[in-house]
């Protein structure tokens, strides 16, 4: 997993509530058995006409947003299906950071497992950032995970909260399985204790 400490990039506004994982990566693209190849299908129903041509009305089809690495979205981003393909598609498109008032639980975990930084900001802040992104083209933000602060070139300095452990993992690009396997003895002990007391799960 690629570590993320400080990231500067172009911001794309997609200020809608409840952007579900069916929109982020529609089901017809979930049949691949690889982890790659999903970026081209990101938001595909919003991004392309049925014949595959670009839709004029979709933000990511316009410069400078085609090169955006930071997405600003409405509340409850990533709700719905558990498909990790959503996080893979966002990452492969180039996004490293998603800013929204709130995120769905499973998506938040999937993002964390793919080095995608999700940050919750208050609704008014999100609205302001989305407006800047819409008006300035390009609007750049710098996200400093170490100092937990987001800055722009106009004097914005917005602190954000993130769980210490999640921050540690993202900054070091740590593989969760590797971390858990350090405690393999604890797992074995748990299994043995359980076998001694009461019916074993089957």
């Amino acid at each position: 997993m690629e570590p993320i400490c400080k990231h500067r990039g172009v911001v794309a506004p997609l200020h809608r509530e409840n952007i579900d994982t069916d929109q982020i990566i529609p089901k017809q693209h979930l049949k691949r058995i690889e982890r790659s190849g999903f970026g081209q299908f990101l938001f595909s129903d919003w991004r392309y006409h049925a014949d595959g041509s670009d839709r004029e009305d979709f933000v990511l089809n316009h410069e400078p947003f085609r090169k955006a690495t930071i997405l600003v979205a409405g509340k409850n981003f990533g709700c719905g299906s558990s498909r990790e393909h959503a996080a893979w598609a966002l990452g492969e498109f180039g996004f490293r950071v998603i800013l929204a008032p709130s995120f769905a639980d499973i998506f938040r975990n999937n993002a964390g497992n793919n080095g995608l930084l999700v940050i919750e900001l208050a609704e008014p802040t999100i609205e302001r950032l989305a407006q800047h992104a819409h008006n300035q083209r390009p609007y750049h933000l710098t996200v400093d995970l170490e100092k937990q602060i987001i800055t722009d070139d106009l004097g914005l300095a917005e602190k954000f909260e993130i769980e210490a452990f999640r921050r540690h993992r993202l900054m070091n690009g740590l593989d969760e399985i590797g971390m858990t396997l350090l405690h393999a003895d604890d797992i074995t002990r748990f299994e043995q204790d359980r076998n001694k007391s009461g019916p074993a799960p089957r």
Binding site: G80, S82, N110, D186, R194
Partner: protein
């Protein structure tokens, strides 16, 4: 006396491998269900890292999302990418000693239908699957939730998940479900009240008189849709109804092991005085059949109401969401729901694809004919459900009415197989999500109970099933 605990806390605490301060807890998993769509990258990840599967004996697989529902295509899948995904699951199960309930085995079906049906789902277990509707299994007093593919890989490698402890919510229901309403209507009403993110960060325990009066299958429908209000999981304390359902199923404990298990399961209730982070009360007696009008499961009204007006929205963002939903759905504010005509009906899914759901739909449709403008797909949730339904003659009732009786799978709930809506087709669906494009690009989904779906199939538009003319 020790501190009173909630049902959730009892299951959570008894599965903690470690819970260090300031880190996610490591939670042991008793049952890991696997399907073809969210697992190939997990198996591949293990291979690349040269890691072994820790407990293949606690892992069970089936094929559900991709599988076509017509008999000829079921064994000769035309979509080559889908066929490869299924072939990959077979290879991965074979190579790792994971039992696979394959197509034609008599045990294949939607993962959340077969788990309970086989007795794999049991009270007090921790259950995960790479599928958000894993919350279904909470109906047994299990702690069950959906995970992503990286977490599937994590569970395969360690038999644990790394989880932040969720908060607890209790939804207490009073009364009984009125005639003509279903547990689907109850959960849709709960989602409407909570909103699509009202449950985020919570495990919800459903309690009270209505829940106690529900059958296991009705309880599964409720827990299944917990994810639609954002909840991590839904849970219902086990009782006599639960035990009766689990007993004598293929993977249920038997003999002395059954008695021992029951003794443990009887402890799985929320203690008097246990604290919840949030409590909500719902009066079941006021419930009406519900129909969604928008593009998320929280956008719903009673069948007797009108399509709501965005001008009545609570704020600007809700108004924008309502306008966009109405445009997508091709509906106008103020239109009577009962005047909304439909093109398709889908009866099935992990929400409403079980035997009782098919019985409920068949009872409504019996002796009637499907409206000439409507195509109806009935897709049993599993091979076992299909066989049981055919033994009762439900297939005949559907076919005589003009509905299509299909082979089991997820089917049109998410349209990964050939069963999809054409653009602008309108569908009364017993599934769980009405998101844009969910059942097919530009398709329009209205979520309803099996009874309401069947009534709409006959009438050609939504209709209040409480006044239905039964002909059996």
């Amino acid at each position: 006396m020790s501190t009173p605990k909630t049902l959730f806390e009892k299951v959570w605490d008894s599965h903690l491998v470690r819970a260090p301060e300031g880190e996610p807890a490591l939670l042991y998993i008793d049952l890991h269900l696997v399907h073809e769509v969210t697992s190939p990258q997990a198996f591949e990840g293990l291979r690349l890292a040269n890691r072994k599967i820790r407990r293949p004996d606690l892992t069970f697989a089936t094929i559900d999302h991709n599988v076509p529902t017509t008999l000829d295509e079921r064994f000769h899948i035309k979509d080559q990418i889908a066929a490869q995904q299924i072939a990959t699951l077979r290879k991965n199960c074979e190579a790792n000693g994971i039992p696979l309930f394959d197509i034609g085995s008599g045990r294949q079906g939607i993962v959340h239908v077969i788990g309970p049906e086989l007795g794999l789902t049991q009270p007090g277990k921790t259950i995960v699957c790479g599928d958000s509707h894993t919350s279904t299994h909470g109906a047994f007093g299990a702690l069950a939730f959906g995970i992503g593919t990286s977490e599937v890989e994590h569970v395969l490698a360690t038999q644990c998940v790394s989880q932040k402890k969720p908060r607890c919510m209790r939804i207490s229901t009073t009364g009984r479900l009125p005639e003509g309403t279903a547990s689907k209507d109850l959960i849709l009403e709960i989602i409407r009240q909570l909103g699509t993110d009202g449950g985020t960060g919570y495990v919800i325990e459903y309690a009270g008189d209505v829940v106690r009066s529900l059958t296991m299958e009705e309880r599964m429908t409720m827990c299944n849709m917990s994810i639609e209000c954002g909840a991590r999981a839904g849970m219902i304390a086990p009782d006599e109804t639960t035990l009766e359902y689990v007993k004598d199923r293929p993977y249920a404990p038997n003999g002395d092991a059954w008695d021992e298990a029951v003794k443990e399961w009887e402890k799985l209730v929320t203690d008097e005085g246990a604290a919840f982070d949030c409590e909500i009360a719902i009066d079941g007696t006021q419930l009406a059949p519900i129909v969604t009008w928008g593009t998320n499961p929280g956008m719903s009204v009673p069948v007797t109401a009108n399509v709501p007006d965005p001008e009545q929205a609570r704020n600007a963002s809700e108004r924008a969401a309502m306008l966009s939903a109405l445009e997508y759905m091709g509906l106008k504010a103020g239109l009577r729901i009962e005047d909304v005509s439909i093109d398709r009906v889908f009866i099935g899914s992990c929400t409403n694809g079980r035997l009782e759901d098919l019985r409920a739909a068949a009872k409504v449709i019996h002796g009637h004919k499907v409206h000439p403008c409507v195509t109806v797909l009935v897709v049993p949730g599993s091979e076992a459900v299909k066989q049981a339904a055919e033994r009762e003659g439900l297939d005949r009732i559907f076919k005589d009415a003009g509905a299509q009786w299909r082979e089991p799978g997820c089917s049109m709930c998410l349209g990964m197989n050939p069963d999809i809506l054409a653009p602008r087709q309108r569908c009364a669906s017993t599934s769980n999500r009405n998101f844009e494009g969910r059942q097919g690009r530009n398709g329009r989904t209205h979520l309803v109970s099996p009874e309401t779906a069947a009534a709409a199939a006959v009438a050609g538009h939504f209709v209040d099933v409480r006044g239905w003319e039964y002909r059996n």
